[in-house]
Structures are given as structure tokens and as C-alpha cells.
């Protein structure tokens, strides 16, 4: 029973790291980036390639996955995304879903369509028992890494100068600009951070969610559910939403496997009826 809770939380943690970048860009730039999963896939493939071709140890590939995805994120933001900021949401959705399809086809062409497999270092394999609760080592590792990340994100968002400038820009970009905050550079940085986090999530998720070219499409729904339920104005919102979904998904499949795959959708519908503005909305403006 506790094992299920633990598995669910680990799963939710990965979901959070994958989706928080999306929620940040959505809240910040009012930009619907459906191609977010493509950055996650990129991070995953960076890890796979580094491990398989160059024999880089798993731990070292994680920051590289982050940097690689962030770098590509910055370049794409400069070239492709920026002209789209002013366009309507429909244009943005069409544009980013197009990128998704290109990423899917590109990954298929370059990497082949099969599931990618990585070999974890032996100290991350297997499990141990803590007071009768079976704990998978890798899941524990994921939990710790993502927990630290979530904490530092929350701290950075609320306590640092960068965070306060960011929040100011989100609230009112024009006034922020008038006060001398470099809004464009801030957005580019945030976009890079979001993409990098997605890349890291993709790399961490290989072992739990698998990795193949259809990844951005398969998990797009999950990201969007996290963002819709969690709301886009905070870090804590998507965090708790991801936890809730992870636990509900795993527990649903455990207790009622016949309908397990639908539990998260039921949950989303119910939550959106009860709290239409997301879990932690401050009430309607």
C-alpha cells in the first residue's frame, strides 16, 4: 500500500519536472507551447546517445540533457517562437503542434522508432525494504532529485531578484519594461530554463515512462492536465497537481486495473468542475 503511494509520488515528481517548464512559459508568456514534450524527448535522446555511443556515466548525462535542451530552447525561442508571441492562441497551437510532428518524424528518422533502453548504474538498480515498505532505488533517486529541484525553483521564484522581476513581468510586461526590467531577455532565460527542465525530466523518465519518437504526443495530455489542474501562476500549483495525478494514476491502475488508465481524466474533470481556475487559484480577478 505504501509502496503504491511511493511509486505514485516518484511518478508525479517526474511529471512535475516535465510539466513545470510548460506551466512557467504558459503563465509567463501567455504562450501555448504544445511542443514542450519535444524538448523532453530531446533530453531523453541526449542521455541515450551519450550513454550508448560515448559511454558517459548516467549521472553525468543528466546535466548535459538539461543544458542541451536549454540551448536548443534558446535558439528556437530566438528564431521561431518570438514572432509567435503576438499571434492568437490558435496560431500558436497550430505552430507548436507542427513542431511536435516534425520532432516525432525527425526522431524516427535519426534514432529509429524502437523504445530506447539504457543501463542504469548498479547502485540505482533493485530495491530495499524500509520497515516492510519496498522502495525502488531508482525511484527514490528520482524523488530526491526532483524534490530538491522543486524546492529550489520555489525558492528562486519567490525569494530571488530574478524571481521577483519575473513575477513583475508576468503581472504587467509594459510597466515592468518601463521600470527597466529587460523583459525579452527574461523571457528567453525562462524559456531556456523550462526547456532544460523538460530535457532533464525526459532523461529521468526514460526508465519509468520509456522513450520513443511518439513521446511528445503520448505525454502531451499528461503535461496539459498538470498545467490545467495546477494553474499557471505558481510553482506549487503544478507541483501538487503532478503529485495528485501521479498517485491517482498509479493507485488507479493498482486497485481497478480495468479502468485504471481513465482515472486521471475523471480526476481532471472533477477538479475542474470544483475548482475551474486550478487547484490553488486565488479566486477570480
Amino acid at each position: 500500500m505504501l509502496t503504491i503511494l511511493f511509486d505514485g509520488i516518484a511518478y508525479g515528481m517526474v511529471l512535475f519536472v516535465l510539466a513545470c517548464g510548460l506551466s512557467v512559459t504558459m503563465g509567463l508568456m501567455n504562450f501555448v507551447n504544445l511542443a514542450h514534450g519535444a524538448f523532453a524527448m530531446l533530453g531523453g535522446y541526449i542521455t541515450v546517445l551519450l550513454m550508448q555511443k560515448l559511454g558517459v556515466p548516467f549521472l553525468l548525462t543528466l546535466p548535459l540533457a538539461f543544458i542541451g535542451a536549454a540551448l536548443i530552447g534558446v535558439i528556437l525561442e530566438r528564431i521561431l517562437y518570438r514572432p509567435m508571441y503576438g499571434k492568437s492562441h490558435l496560431d500558436q497551437v497550430m505552430f507548436t503542434i507542427g513542431i511536435v510532428f516534425m520532432a516525432v518524424a525527425g526522431a524516427d528518422y535519426l534514432m529509429g522508432s524502437s523504445q530506447q533502453i539504457i543501463k542504469l548504474p548498479s547502485w540505482l538498480q533493485g530495491r530495499f525494504d524500509i520497515g516492510g515498505v519496498g522502495v525502488g532505488r531508482y525511484r527514490l533517486f528520482v524523488l530526491v532529485v526532483c524534490g530538491v529541484l522543486a524546492f529550489s525553483l520555489q525558492w528562486g521564484f519567490t525569494k530571488t531578484r530574478f524571481g521577483s522581476r519575473l513575477r513583475a513581468s508576468v503581472d504587467d510586461a509594459r510597466v515592468a519594461r518601463g521600470l527597466g526590467i529587460p523583459v525579452n531577455r527574461l523571457f528567453a532565460l525562462t524559456f531556456a530554463l523550462g526547456s532544460g527542465l523538460a530535457g532533464l525530466g525526459g532523461a529521468l523518465g526514460i526508465e519509468l515512462m520509456g522513450l520513443d519518437p511518439s513521446f511528445p504526443l503520448k505525454f502531451m495530455i499528461y503535461f496539459l492536465v498538470v498545467v490545467t489542474v495546477g494553474g499557471t501562476s505558481t510553482i506549487t500549483g503544478p507541483f501538487f497537481a503532478a503529485m495528485l495525478l501521479g498517485v491517482a494514476d498509479v493507485a488507479g491502475k493498482y486497485f481497478v486495473p480495468e479502468i485504471g488508465a481513465f482515472i486521471i481524466y475523471v480526476l481532471m474533470v472533477v477538479l475542474l468542475i470544483v475548482r475551474p481556475d486550478g487547484l490553488f487559484a486565488k479566486g477570480r480577478a
Partner: protein
């Protein structure tokens, strides 16, 4: 001078003959429309079969019964609507004599109507749901059926003191086939079975395996499509089921030869029943494996490849029997009852059901010379598809 002139004449004569010959062949071609998923999540199936078909034609020449076999390869990406459209185009525009390939059950079913209406034989080289051959009288199968591979597992388990089995299968046609055929046979023999089905699109097996481990079975019976076998095996070991003494059993898809190496040592000890292992000990198989690896940069052939190889051979033999007559009814009649020595052992196309009859082998995954193999240790000779056999009684 004189010699040179003669050589010249000879060369001229040869090239003339060759030109005439190829013109004659072009008229007398038997086109085979090969529809396979060459891209998308099931591309490995397509690649294996395509490579095997090419190997067969390279080894045996392409002329059978006076007809030169021409392959038209089409990629359906694993999408049933595309399969049907491609089958129609191949029949109407290219006038193919035979449709072949079909990587998954829905794809094979999508083309069945086209085969029936056009009276064109449909040679199924991969899809393994039992009922496929009933969808059209023109369907002939050279792969296997899941009940055919799963039922012998029940017998083996009962004989080896396994009383309680937990089954985990992917929730679609072949998975349900595997689960029901195994469970029915196993229960009839006095065993108890608990089952869960995993959605096709979710590779996180954690909750399902947690259930399995709490049920404390003697063995875990698993069917997943071959691509995600690796994911399953890893989580099986991560959850400590192997250490708890739970045997891993099932049809051979989960330890597919194509990906066995990348699954790694966690696969060691799995007991599976299947119709083909790359380690099958026979001269015919050794020759097949060596030739296949040489032609494909060291890639191992798997059960898809052997079915593609035999499928091509069935088409060739049928053309020989009909003396090059490409009439659909004549070809299907010629395929019925064909008995061949395949790399996997003897096979027979059942004249009643047009399905394949073959040996099923019990294998154990072991490490040999640094490579992983499914080593066969028992044979159940000439197994018919049990689902159709039961219907006849």
C-alpha cells in the same frame, strides 16, 4: 583477330539473349505487394520481414514456375486505414498477384476484405491473433498464433509444479488471446490464475507488477508486444520478483531475439514457449542465421524474419505448383497443405484452416559465449492453432 571476332559475337549473342530474356520476364512477372510497418513504433517488425524476403529472393533467384517475382514494398506505418488503402492500390493499380506482410492484427484484418473481393491471396507474415485466418478464405498465415504458443506453456507449468500463476498481458487482441488460452488450459489442469491487463499505451508497469508481487504466485505469465519487453523485464527485476522466486513465463515475444541483447542479464532464467529461436539447433537454421547476419550488418533474425522468409517460400512454392498461374484461387489451393522444412523446423499450412502448424519449443534464456540466447530444451511437435481446433470439434 578471329578470336576477337568470335568473342564479340558471343558477347553480342549473350547480351541479346539477356535483353530478350528480361523482356520476357517483364511480361511474366508475378507481383507481390508487401505491406509492412517500415516506420513508426513497429518498424522493427517491418525491417526484419523485409530483410528476410530480400534474403530469400537473393538465395533462390526470383523465378518460380516461369514467373519472376517482383516485390512492391509499401509502408503502412502501423496504421490500419493506410493498410487498407495500400492494399486497394496494389490490387487495382499494380495488379499484384499476392498481398503479403501485415505487421499487426488490425492491419491484417484491414486488408482481409480487399483480399476476398479481389480474390488475391493474403499471406500474413506477422500478425498473430487466432481469428485472423477466418476473416477471409484467401488468408494464409506463416507466422504463428498466440494460443498456439501460449497453451503449451500451461502444460509445461502444470508439469513443473507451478500451481498459481499471475498473468499480465497488454490489453489488445493478441494479449487477450494469450491470456484466455493460457488461463483456460491452466485452470482445466487444476491451477489457479489471477489476471490483469495493461493498457497498450502505458509502459509504466509498476502498479501491475506490485499487484503481481502481492499475489505471491509461483509464476508470472506475460505477453507484451516485443518492443516494450525490455521495460517490463527491468521492472520485474527492480521489484524483486525474481528474488522472491517468481518464475517468468509466457510466449516468446517478451524475449524477442532482436532486442534480447539490449534487455540484458535481467532476462536470464525466463522460460518461454515459442516457435522460433535464433539458437534453434539445426543445419537449416545455422545457414539461415549466418546468411541473414551477413546481409544485414550483424542484425539477428527474430521470429518475424523467419515468418517472412517462410512466407516468401510459400508464395514461391505455390507458383511452382501452379506452373506460374497467378489466379488467386489456384494459388491458395496450392498453398494449402504445403509442407516445408523451415529454419524453425518442419511447418505445414493446414489445408482446412490455412493457418500454420509447427513445433512449439520450450526455451530458457541463458548466456552463452557472452551473448544472450533462448535455448530450447523441449519440443511439442506440430501444434495446431487450438482456438480453431476447438471450434471444429
Amino acid at each position: 583477330m578471329a578470336i576477337r571476332r568470335q568473342v564479340l559475337k558471343g558477347a553480342l549473342g549473350l547480351s541479346l539473349a539477356a535483353a530478350l530474356g528480361s523482356a520476357a520476364f517483364a511480361q511474366d512477372a508475378a507481383k507481390v505487394g508487401l505491406i509492412l510497418p517500415m516506420t513508426g513504433p513497429f518498424a522493427s517488425t517491418g525491417k526484419q520481414i523485409d530483410a528476410a524476403v530480400k534474403l530469400f529472393l537473393a538465395q533462390n533467384g526470383a523465378v518460380f514456375g516461369g514467373k519472376k517475382i517482383e516485390i512492391i514494398l509499401k509502408d503502412d506505418t502501423g496504421n490500419a486505414d493506410t493498410t487498407r488503402r495500400l492494399a486497394q492500390e496494389l490490387v487495382v493499380n499494380d495488379k499484384v498477384a499476392v498481398l503479403a506482410g501485415f505487421g499487426l492484427t488490425p492491419l491484417a484484418l484491414a486488408a482481409a476484405q480487399v483480399a476476398t473481393q479481389a480474390k488475391v491471396p493474403e499471406v500474413v507474415m506477422a500478425a498473430a491473433t487466432a481469428t485472423i485466418t477466418e476473416a477471409s478464405p484467401y488468408i494464409v498465415r506463416t507466422s504463428f498464433t498466440l494460443p498456439q504458443a501460449s497453451e503449451p506453456m500451461a502444460d509445461w507449468a502444470l508439469k513443473n509444479n507451478i500451481k498459481k500463476v499471475f498473468t499480465v498481458v497488454t490489453d489488445y487482441g493478441p494479449g487477450i488471446d494469450a491470456e484466455t488460452s493460457f488461463a483456460n488450459k491452466f485452470k482445466a489442469g487444476g491451477g489457479t490464475v489471477e489476471s490483469v491487463r495493461v493498457p497498450l499505451r502505458n509502459p509504466d508497469f509498476a502498479p501491475f507488477l506490485q499487484r503481481a508481487s502481492e499475489a505471491k504466485p509461483d509464476a508470472l505469465f506475460v505477453f507484451v508486444p516485443s518492443g516494450i519487453g525490455a521495460q517490463f523485464m527491468k521492472q520485474f527485476v527492480e521489484r524483486g520478483l525474481d528474488k522472491a522466486g517468481v518464475k517468468l513465463i509466457g510466449p516468446g515475444d517478451v524475449v524477442d531475439d532482436d532486442i534480447l541483447e539490449s534487455i540484458g542479464d535481467v532476462a536470464i532464467g525466463a522460460i518461454t514457449t515459442h516457435h522460433y529461436s535464433v539458437a534453434h539447433d539445426s543445419a537449416a537454421n545455422k545457414a539461415f542465421v549466418t546468411a541473414f547476419k551477413a546481409a544485414n550488418g550483424g542484425m539477428r533474425p527474430n521470429f518475424m524474419a523467419v515468418a517472412g522468409y517462410d512466407g516468401m517460400r510459400v508464395i514461391a512454392e505455390a507458383l511452382k505448383k501452379t506452373n506460374g498461374n497467378t489466379d488467386g484461387d489456384a494459388l491458395v489451393a496450392a498453398m494449402k497443405g504445403l509442407s516445408l522444412e523451415s529454419p524453425r523446423g518442419p511447418i505445414l499450412i493446414d489445408p482446412d484452416t490455412r493457418d500454420i502448424v509447427q513445433n512449439i519449443y520450450v526455451r530458457k534464456t541463458e548466456k552463452k559465449d557472452g551473448e544472450l540466447f533462448n535455448v530450447e530444451f523441449a519440443i511439442i511437435p506440430m501444434v495446431k492453432d487450438p482456438v480453431k481446433a476447438a471450434k471444429k470439434q
